[in-house]
């Protein structure tokens, strides 16, 4: 399936969260039906989100408080950390919980 080109660069009036949400919507629209973790994580829009760096971490953590999300696949790359025990890898609920504990320890709440 062809992918949509990534949108225009962030404008001076667009906040980081607005940019993040706009990229998130595009990423989900183009990958929500996929099972391949390599295609999901390798999608250009998610790569763009990851390139936004630590600015997006609070937004991802806030989403994880609401429900388990695949942000748990992007957070290690952004933060350089990985609090998920080997035994819990692939369990998105447990991975989410591990990241929420990490968030507390790192002063995100």
């Amino acid at each position: 399936m062809a992918t949509t080109p990534i949108g225009a660069p962030q404008t001076s009036t667009e906040t980081s969260e607005e940019r993040f949400r706009s990229l998130e919507a595009l990423w989900r629209a183009e990958t929500a039906h996929l099972s391949s973790s390599s295609k999901i994580i390798g999608h250009p829009t998610l790569r763009e989100i990851i390139r936004m760096g630590k600015a997006v971490v609070p937004f991802m953590l806030r989403d994880l408080e609401q429900q388990p999300r695949l942000w748990v696949w992007a957070l290690p790359e952004i933060t350089g950390d990985d609090p998920v025990p080997v035994s819990d890898r692939g369990d998105i609920v447990k991975m989410t919980n591990a990241w929420l504990c990490w968030a507390k320890e790192h002063g995100y709440r």
Partner: protein, 150 residues
């Protein structure tokens, strides 16, 4: 519905139905395997679950091996067969697996669509540009029922 039918045009005008809400917790391979707690994929082991003993390769052979661990063997027909449950593996034109569906007791199929919903559908409904074609059918014997008490 329109969103799904745009992705899978063969759903249009059929009796498919959405049977769950969307979830990032499990995917089609997990759902086919009867697991709603993991995201199954042979990619990065830091991110996904894959059965121990099956190669972590995005090949049909690796997917067959993963389901073989659950007791599935290759079979020729997708038709409903008394005493067996079946799984269909989809693959793209390069032979790379894209999707799995599980047959239900009435001969229809159930699929989890990535992070989206589960649907009940006819097998051919998902053939197309997104998931490619049906590449392999697998089956395993259903547990036998205990004998009726006399």
């Amino acid at each position: 519905m329109e969103r799904l039918e745009a992705l899978f045009p063969r759903l249009r005008g059929t009796a498919y139905r959405i049977t769950s809400s969307a979830s990032d917790v499990y995917n089609c391979i997990a759902w086919a395997a009867g697991d709603t707690e993991h995201w199954w994929w042979p990619g990065d082991p830091a991110r996904t679950y894959w059965p121990l003993g099956a190669p972590r390769l995005e090949t049909l052979a690796a997917f067959r091996d993963a389901f073989a661990i659950l007791g599935y063997v290759v079979c020729e027909q997708a038709d409903l067969e008394q005493g067996f449950e079946k799984i269909a593996l989809f693959a793209d034109s390069d032979g790379t697996p894209t999707h799995a569906a599980r047959q239900l007791g009435d001969g229809t199929w159930t699929s989890k669509l990535g992070m989206s919903e589960d649907i009940q559908h006819a097998l051919e409904n998902l053939v197309g540009t997104v998931y490619g074609s049906i590449a392999q059918i697998l089956k395993r014997a259903l547990p036998s029922s205990p004998p009726e008490p006399r």
